[in-house]
Symmetry: C2
Subunit: 234 residues, 2 copies
DNA sequence: GAAATAAACTGATCCGGCGCAACTATTTTT
DNA sequence: AAAAATAGTTGCGCCGGATCAGTTTATTTC
């Protein structure tokens, strides 16, 4: 279900998750073409799938795993989004005359990535309007989430940003109120735009306040209503 | 021309400007359909074209003028981008089952907006793959610029952010090193994620340092090389 | 053209959150 | 199993910028 805070608050989630069937929109011939021009690659935890600035040769379909999509420059990192299975990544590189990757991708867990030739993918977009319309929908969904995160990171302070990311992880990635985080504290920092130290301090504060339970990487959301209030009020 | 800092720095610009010919990609019948299902409306300076959260009834083609695309909540504002003539806006609302506007739009100058029925626009996207492919390109260009701004606002401090926005205004909107700003200081704040007071102080500093010339709304970039260095180093 | 309103500016204050340093715990390497 | 490297944690000082309060300058409005 689509998040309900469309008219109310600005959605702040940073995960993109679609159980969609772009593949089903292709004709049989097109499916064959995709199959013949793609390979499934297994990436181990922590491996880099692609780097920003490189010429885009493939579209990445994440068949399984968890990855971060991010920008890095000097010692500054910004995680644009997390992606889980069934996600098409790298489509942002489809842009006439300048198809360089606008972000890097690295895995958090062992992941299976189907690498689809970008020329073939583009060709199908150009010839199959049901497919390209669906892609427009996917891009727009991502963009809307992006806006929410943009707002969160630029307008809220630490408490609100941490509440945002915790709710997001729970709702969108792990689909449970308790989960084991494959991200480091530093990654949580890059995701929320704060320093590693601040992440640690804030999480401790949340724990002491009874908002979350925490043992190392294991996190449990204990008071979601209050977390949502913290998210709303910044 | 596409900005050259794709592999080097992360592009930070906040304006979207395309001299594109989406209209030319339509068939004669489709052009007629668009014409019959759209109207050109004149908005005066400062008028609101649409508000976030409303059901999206139209796609907005900005035939002339300058507008801000923004998020507002409580007293927090974030300008997502500025748009000038020849821009298609509101496409982000095309998303199955949830076509609410993800942002608000307000004019800075008198503007002419062609309001295109969203059902018709969507219909054409679904049937004309050359058109929808072009739209994908447009969306991706916007997204790439978004990423750059996201990075700028979350990772750089005031000097860098102000340099970014000044370069952007010069390169993308006014296409000149000197221009008369239709934005207030408060709007510059919403654009750079800083307070109005900080904008004023920073601009004074830039002026005193000989980076820019400034008389009220008239601004001239005097030392672009140094501005770019400031942009790069945060 | 006077009054009212909004925008631009200035100075003083205060605090959120970063960066540093030091230390501990955990994981990886050999 | 020891060594090395990485990740997590804590305390402290400092400073970038927000906020507040007040003044000046434009712009509307009637």
């Amino acid at each position: 279900m689509i998040q309900s805070n469309d008219t109310k608050g600005i959605s702040h989630c940073s995960v993109f998750d679609s159980e969609t069937s772009w593949y089903d929109l292709l004709t049989d011939d097109e499916k064959i073409l995709i199959n013949e021009n793609s390979v499934s690659i297994i990436f181990k935890k922590g491996e880099t799938v692609c780097k920003r600035g490189a010429f885009a040769s493939h579209i990445y379909f994440l068949e399984d795993g968890l990855v971060k999509v991010y920008l890095e420059e000097k010692n500054k990192n910004l995680i644009l989004m997390l992606a889980i299975r069934n996600n098409l990544l790298g489509m942002a590189a489809i842009f006439d005359g300048n198809n360089k990757l606008p972000y890097s991708i690295t895995t958090y867990t062992d992941s299976i990535v189907r690498m689809i030739d970008i020329q073939v993918f583009t060709k199908l977009l150009k010839q199959n309007s049901a497919f390209s319309f669906h892609v427009i929908n996917l891009l727009n969904e991502k963009t809307a989430q992006m806006y929410g995160r943009f707002f969160s990171l630029t307008q809220k302070q630490l408490h609100g940003r941490l509440a945002d990311i915790l709710l997001c992880l729970s709702n969108r990635i792990f689909k449970s109120t308790s989960f084991e985080l494959p991200l480091s504290r530093a990654d949580l920092g890059d995701l929320t735009g704060m320093s590693t130290e601040s992440i640690i301090r804030m999480m401790k504060e949340f724990k002491d306040d009874g908002l979350i339970g925490m043992h190392c990487k294991n996190i449990e959301l204990l008071d979601i209503a209050r977390l949502e209030r913290i998210s709303e009020f910044g």
